[in-house]
């Protein structure tokens, strides 16, 4: 079992000291930003051009849906959201800190990324760190 919580996704970095952060890749040839590693740039096909790129923790809400019928074991309702991060990159995660009511969610609103321990562990009992977004303070 690991001492540090494991990241839910490889682009979530959980350092031993300091806060977790999101880090994707940026292509040095065309500047495209992606979360996942690729063998060549997804936009321009550039070879050996992808360099690690830390993402910002602020952004804007681009789209959402409120899930009422989920797969077994998942509590409903919850808000699934797409957010554009300031400086580039788009993420998908739960929007928390708001009532899951379409009237209360404003498309385009300012959001912040937050990091928390995931409510589930893996089969070996390892704990995981995940990320969510919430309305900006």
């Amino acid at each position: 079992m690991a001492d540090q919580p494991l990241p839910i996704m490889p682009f979530l970095k959980v350092p031993e000291a300091g806060d977790p952060y999101l880090e994707g890749f940026q292509c040095t040839s065309c500047q495209a930003i992606s979360l996942k590693t690729r063998m060549a740039c997804g936009k321009c096909g550039g070879r050996d051009t992808l360099k690690p790129h830390k993402l910002n923790n602020t952004g804007k809400l681009h789209a959402f849906s409120i899930i009422y019928r989920a797969f077994p074991g998942i509590d409903v309702p919850f808000i699934s959201a797409i957010a554009d991060l300031d400086g580039g990159g788009t993420i998908k995660t739960n929007l928390v800190g708001l009532e899951p009511d379409p009237e209360k969610i404003t498309l385009g609103m300012d959001i912040e990324v937050d990091f928390q321990i995931a409510p589930r562990k893996d089969a070996e009992g390892n704990e995981y760190m995940t990320y969510v977004i919430k309305p900006a303070a």
Binding site: S65, Y68, S80
Partner: protein, 385 residues
Amino acid sequence: MGSEDVYITGIDMIKFGKFPDRSIASLGAESTLGAMDDAGVTINDIEALYSGNLMMAAGMVGQQIQQEIGQTGIPVVNCSNACATGATALREGFIAIKAGIYDTIVAVGVEKMAGAGMLGGGGGSKGIHPEGLLGSGSMPCVFAEAGMAHSKDYGTTFEQFAQIAVKNHHHSTLNPKARYQIETPLDEVMGAEMISYPNTKLMCSANVDGSAAAVLMSEKEMKRRGLEGQAVKIRASVLTTDPWTDRDEVMPDVNTCTRNAAKQAYEMAGVGPEDLDLVELHDCFATAEVLHYENLGLCADGEAGKLIDERSTWIGGKIPVNLSGGLLSKGHPIGATGIANQYELAMHLRGKAGKRQVEGARIGLAHVIGLGTCCGIHILEGPSA
């Protein structure tokens, strides 16, 4: 491009439904035989068979169909491209005839998925599954988010999305081959069980079993057989994949690949959206249809809401969309959909669409999206005879 055209000379679909006691091969065989009968050919005239099926992609479904209808040893290609599977199978046949390799082929799409439940949200076995933690990957959610992005730009409302379902359920009451033939008024659609806002249960495509098939011929063969009276010309057959766009990695971009496919299809066919008499597009969820009004150029960007409010896409409207009932109400057996929607067009183009008939229909467009992501578009022209 090759000099000769390619024609659909026979086409059929079975009534979509639940067939737990039928094998996938027998479902596929039924529409294949129907299409061959419609074209006046037998299995001995078919030079290749293109089979579209997603869920049993490794299962040699095309070969199983051959076993049902005549094992002549012809080449079989098993195709899968998510929900664009059927269009992909038909297009493979189209390009082979265009290349001059065959004169007569059959393409069949078939799927068994009644009771399949919610799709999407699948993932690897390591670590923890992100479903419900990093949003939802379910299909109702993915397409709800796509609809809400449209709402962000243009203020599209829940009610407008729901009107799509009212329309398509109404259309299917005129289609004896649709899975459902039930009117659903607006308050019933909006008040149905909410699956993933704004998509309620009645705004989600129906998981059903079904198949559809088409016999394609070269112009030379079509004429040799004297089939001008029923031959539907394939003016365009296009397939695109999602190009890189900024959000595509987390939010599948069904818009750009559709726009790219539409542009290529209109160019290939030498027509514009204003020339279309009817459209069958990919309404996997009510929210998706709205996007495709703009993606296919049926209206300008931002005008989809107006098209809905003015009922322009209803039967009798300026540009009828999904007269078959669409995926919402006719049903969406994944592999069959991309050929079933061309069946609908063919019926109108031949003047055989009964109560749904668009008077004087001459040109139709069929569109499918496969998440992951790809887009197939066909533009068909009615018989000149």
